[in-house]
Point group: C3
Chain length 137, copies 3
């Protein structure tokens, strides 16, 4: 069994940002030398998400608007009694989910034609990490 | 380490459809010869979901109605500027999630009594694929 | 390849409950002797969720209120024609997702500073199980 673990750091300029990290995931898989296995892409913070979908700007705007509708930024969350103001970012992370598993077949990401891995930052402008871990043989 | 990767093809008659694929997943696991490991079931398209829940027709109707309520089919999504009309299917895929990992223990799906694997088609009537990949020993 | 599979049993006092199970997951990983791999934490019932987020009481109250808003407890779900009254718990399980994969690196859960594993019971007051399965080397 082989494994390779790497960490991507982000420090987004905007509070919310959607970043296509497919190339970074492919790069880890290639350097791992793994032909068959899984690569986990998992946010290490609880106010960010990782998902697989389309690299299309209109859709990304739709995703952002839809998340804001289902989980609006508001001041009256109970979490804010701690001094935080980012409860909506926690809930958006739950909704989108914080991780994906991508299959590795013949040494490559075994994706359909439009699948891309996205890092969804919901509370940015500070240093945050994503783990990429490939395991297989 | 052993692995086996197979692809299920669908071409649903209706635009939306919920298909129980538990038997196909079990079949791949059995033929893999894997006693302990994981099997990933992952949609290869970004307008479909894979989830684990109950094989009960009333519940499936509830799931469909609930998804339509939280992510309505509408014409005014920004994604539709590309000529597409399926932004709701992308968002439904995000909400339900596009994949599950099922544990393999003693050569079988290690499921509770009511757990079943479903393929949720949100934009059908064309050929689409799901990957089933078992990895273990 | 090594693997270790254990089952946690719950019988919550309240109908809904959020239980931090991070210590149990860490304990399985430690006893597995696995240095590099994945640990799957997966509810074996279809009316419960497993998620990774913050161990903060206000946020947990926010999560519960938000879930109730997006998936209200109602009597008129079609699933209830079977005699059940827990369709909302099924939908909450879909929304939160029923499982997470946690990376194992250097023999430990490879988590960011605030990540904790939670079992979310949406239809409790009876015996229910979560599977914890570590696979790696």
């Amino acid at each position: 069994m082989k494994s390779l673990t790497e960490y991507l750091w982000f420090n987004t300029k905007r509070h919310r940002e959607f970043i296509n990290i497919t190339d970074s995931v492919e790069d880890v898989v290639q350097r791992s030398g793994i032909a068959e296995g899984f690569v986990l892409v998992s946010a290490m913070h609880i106010t960010a998400g990782v998902y697989v979908n389309d690299a299309e700007a209109g859709l990304i705007a739709d995703i952002e608007a839809w998340l804001e509708q289902l989980v609006p930024y508001r001041s009256d969350y109970k979490h804010h009694a701690t001094g935080e103001s980012n409860a909506d970012a926690h809930l958006k992370s739950l909704l989108v989910h914080h991780e994906v598993i991508v299959p590795i077949t013949n040494g490559k990401l075994d994706f359909g034609p439009w699948q891309q891995v996205y890092y969804a930052e919901f509370d940015g402008q500070r240093r945050k990490r994503v783990l990429i871990k490939a395991v297989g043989e």
